[in-house]
């Protein structure tokens, strides 16, 4: 009896692990207020209050089509939404990044083709920077519409610390490496990094590969060409990363810092780290958390340094052209219509664009130059806007551009590179094996 009881306890214990994950599928679908009120899932963080404001003002004016919005932390959202969509319980508005994940939704027939909607409503199409809008296309059809701000990866630095050691922001990789001992002597970490989240590591690889080998290197990888990771630019970039790690370029304990906690930004504005390579969205975060730092000219920002002999155009950028709304094809007709109406009339209104600019973000729309000029953050905002407008190539973050299986393997192996657990050659071999998966 005792034996049997314990055995079943064990079974339950083991099975709970499994059922937990399965239960997660069905647990919290959107609580439909009425069958036709669309649901929206989006992220906490930089744009949370902006989205909330936009939805609030829409709901006030359109009580019959009011949207129910829920916010999730970034890393948790990515798994949750996929599981929900897979179970047919996804929200009407699916927040995304474009790329491989978007493609997998399209392949599974889970989201609406919005090409026709854009053709009928040219004013929607024309309001966006076309390069950004293009990131929502799969095979020439539009499945995702930009919904937040332009988010290139920027090299941020703490001006006070640079003055203290008498240094200039690095223009080349060699200058960057030369800065490392200078800051270490001054008792400051050269770079902050949210290594536990893994995707901040990726920003280094994306930029280095682009500067060394140009955009073709990753284009080949994304196109699943055999042995595409064997391009010498990849090994060189990884070697440079390990050089920087070994020189003590990253802050003590970087591999236990999670980007979702914003500790990586805090290290920069508290003067514990001199620089951080990060997305455009952290400007919004720092403006909120440390207004004194962003408002009083203590925050510097520049483009990623060039690499001697590299093929890539120094004006190329990587990052997220924007975030996007996709519309679930499992939603009711009423939900879909309400969602499209919101995209048409509720987004990037004069007022919403102004809110985004006020928060320190750049909306991916045309004709906002004067709005940016008038902003107290105009230095940063025009820097980002020009960067995005003039970039010969705006590479979407690789973990989003690739399929989830490839992206996950890449992030895990890159983490190993930063920890010096594997060599660049091992990275290349492992990643070549994921091509086509």
């Amino acid at each position: 009896m005792f034996n049997r009881k314990l055995r079943s306890t064990a079974l339950t214990a083991a099975a709970t692990v499994l059922t937990l994950s399965l239960a997660a599928c069905g647990s919290s679908g959107p609580a439909n207020v009425s069958a036709d009120s669309p649901s929206m899932w989006t992220l906490t963080g930089a744009n949370q209050s902006n989205t909330q404001a936009s939805v609030d003002s829409w709901n006030e004016a359109h009580a019959d089509q009011s949207i129910k919005v829920d916010f999730f932390a970034n890393d948790a959202y990515k798994t949750k939404v996929r599981t929900a969509v897979g179970a047919g319980e996804g929200p009407t508005f699916i927040y995304g990044w474009g790329g491989g994940v978007l493609e997998s939704y399209v392949d599974a027939g889970q989201i609406e083709d919005l090409t026709g909607f854009l053709a009928e409503n040219p004013e929607v199409k024309d309001r966006y920077l076309q390069s950004v809008l293009k990131s929502g296309e799969i095979d020439g059809k539009t499945y995702a519409i930009p919904n937040t701000t332009i988010q290139p990866i920027v090299l941020y630095y703490n001006k006070e610390l640079f003055e203290k050691v008498g240094a200039q922001p690095p223009k080349t990789w060699d200058e960057l490496m030369a800065l490392v001992p200078k800051f270490k002597e001054a008792g400051v970490a050269p770079f902050s990094l949210g290594g536990q989240s893994k995707w901040p590591d990726l920003m280094w690889l994306e930029y280095l590969v682009d500067r060394i080998g140009g955009p073709e290197v990753f284009n080949n990888i994304a196109a699943n060409k055999p042995d595409a990771w064997s391009d010498p630019a990849v090994v060189e970039a990884l070697t440079k990363i390990q050089d920087l790690v070994n020189a003590g370029g990253f802050i003590n304990g970087f591999s236990s810092i999670a980007a979702d906690s914003n500790a990586d930004q805090a290290l920069l504005y508290t003067g514990k780290a001199a620089m951080v390579l990060h997305g455009g969205w952290i400007y919004q975060g720092m403006k909120k958390d440390a207004p004194d730092f962003t408002n009083n000219g203590k925050l510097g920002f520049t483009t990623f340094p060039t690499v001697e002999g590299g093929k890539g155009d120094p004006a190329n950028i990587v990052g997220n052209p924007s975030n996007f709304w996709s519309v679930s094809s499992k939603a009711t007709e009423g939900q879909k219509n309400a969602a499209l109406n919101y995209i048409k009339d509720g987004m990037y209104t004069e007022q919403q664009s102004q809110t985004l600019v006020d928060s320190g973000g750049v909306p991916p729309v045309n004709g906002i130059e004067s709005m940016l000029e008038a902003s107290p953050d105009k230095d940063f905002l025009t820097f980002v806007y020009d960067m995005a407008k003039d970039a010969p190539n705006f590479q979407l973050s690789w973990d989003q551009a690739l399929t989830p299986a490839q992206g996950d393997a890449m992030l895990s192996n890159l983490d190993q590179i930063f920890l010096n657990k594997i060599t660049p050659e091992q990275f290349v071999t492992t990643m070549n094996a994921t091509i086509g998966k």
């Binding site: 005792f2 034996n3 314990l6 055995r7 079943s8 306890t9 064990a10 079974l11 339950t12 214990a13 083991a14 099975a15 709970t16 692990v17 499994l18 059922t19 937990l20 994950s21 399965l22 798994t79 996929r82 599981t83 969509v85 897979g86 997998s104 939704y105 392949d107 599974a108 889970q110 290594g195 536990q196 989240s197 893994k198 802050i251 003590n252 304990g253 970087f254 591999s255 236990s256 810092i257 999670a258 906690s261 500790a263 805090a266 290290l267 514990k272 989830p404 299986a405 996950d408 393997a409 895990s412 983490d415 190993q416 920890l419 657990k421």
Partner: protein
């Protein structure tokens, strides 16, 4: 007192088997059915979104040849082993201590109980903040010794995880031991005192043997529970740095919900169930054949 023959028979047979029905139905629905579902999925290819296609043994070959699976098993075994040798003695001693009737012990017992009231995720978030090498306890108090890279150092992190797990679960096992100790008849101790046995001798000759089954229960929960550690480690380290704390359940989750390979994740799930059952069986065998004998001989 007279008892009618009908109810005597009922007493001998025990309560009706139907009482188990609700639990059984739940168990069937939420444990057995998903178990077979997972077994089926392990022979398929599915990314969580599109079609589920049969794929033979390919998920199994992927999982079994992947060095990360081996590493995950090793990490699981290490965490299981260290958790056990840290938690078992501490909770046994604390349990014996708090079983005493003194008022201050009762007060301490309440304090020891506190970690059990917190959810694993909350515990993990709190420790993550405390152990942060730049903003945590060490730098905050100006104690360089505490400012280690606790969660970022591949060699240290496993022991930090074991410590946090112990912090959370020792109270639970203490409670089990406290109950066990309180059930030992005081007459045993009185007799021992008369025979001139000291405190140490009483502990080793009476308390420990009498706690045999409590020890087995607690150990089973500890060891099999190690297979289910997930939330705490997921929040604390996310399996990192590298694969240093990526234990089997976490590996299963990340394979399924990050890499979206449900086939391989299901294969890992089946492995997990098999290991869990095997461990529970072994621990039961260790209990010996005389488990039905009275624990209260001589009482």
């Amino acid at each position: 007192m007279s008892v009618s023959t009908g109810s005597r028979r009922a007493l001998e047979k025990g309560p009706s088997g139907w009482l188990a029905a609700p639990a059984l139905i739940f168990f069937l629905l939420f444990a057995i059915v998903p178990l077979f579902g997972v077994l089926f999925l392990s022979f398929t290819k599915w990314n969580g979104l599109g079609e589920i296609t049969l794929d033979g043994f390919s998920s199994w070959t992927t999982v079994l040849t992947d060095p990360i699976t081996g590493n995950a098993m090793l990490v699981t075994a290490k965490i299981m082993f260290f958790s056990f040798i840290v938690q078992a003695p501490i909770s046994l001693l604390l349990g014996v201590f708090t079983a005493g009737g003194q008022k201050y012990r009762a007060a301490l017992a309440v304090l020891y109980f506190v970690p059990l009231l917190l959810s694993s995720a909350a515990v993990a978030i709190a420790f993550k903040a405390l152990l942060d090498p730049n903003f945590g306890l060490g730098p905050g108090l100006g104690l360089p010794f505490l400012a280690q890279d606790w969660l970022g150092n591949s060699d240290l992190v496993l022991f930090v995880v074991v410590f946090v797990i112990a912090w959370q679960f020792v109270p639970f096992h203490t409670l089990i031991y406290q109950g066990g100790v309180r059930q030992i008849p005081t007459s045993l101790y009185e007799a021992a005192q008369i025979d001139g046995a000291g405190r140490m001798q009483q502990f080793f000759s009476i308390t420990l043997p009498q706690l045999k089954y409590t020890i087995i229960t607690s150990s089973t929960l500890m060891v099999v529970g190690s297979l289910a550690y997930f939330d705490l480690i997921f929040v604390l380290t996310a399996g990192g740095p590298g694969y240093a704390t990526r234990l089997l359940p976490l590996h299963m989750y990340l394979t399924g919900f990050k890499a979206n390979d449900m086939g391989a994740a299901s294969a890992l799930g089946v492995i997990l169930v098999v290991i869990g059952l095997a461990l529970a069986l072994v621990l039961q065998r260790l209990g010996g054949k005389n488990r039905n004998d009275s624990q209260l001989e001589g009482a």
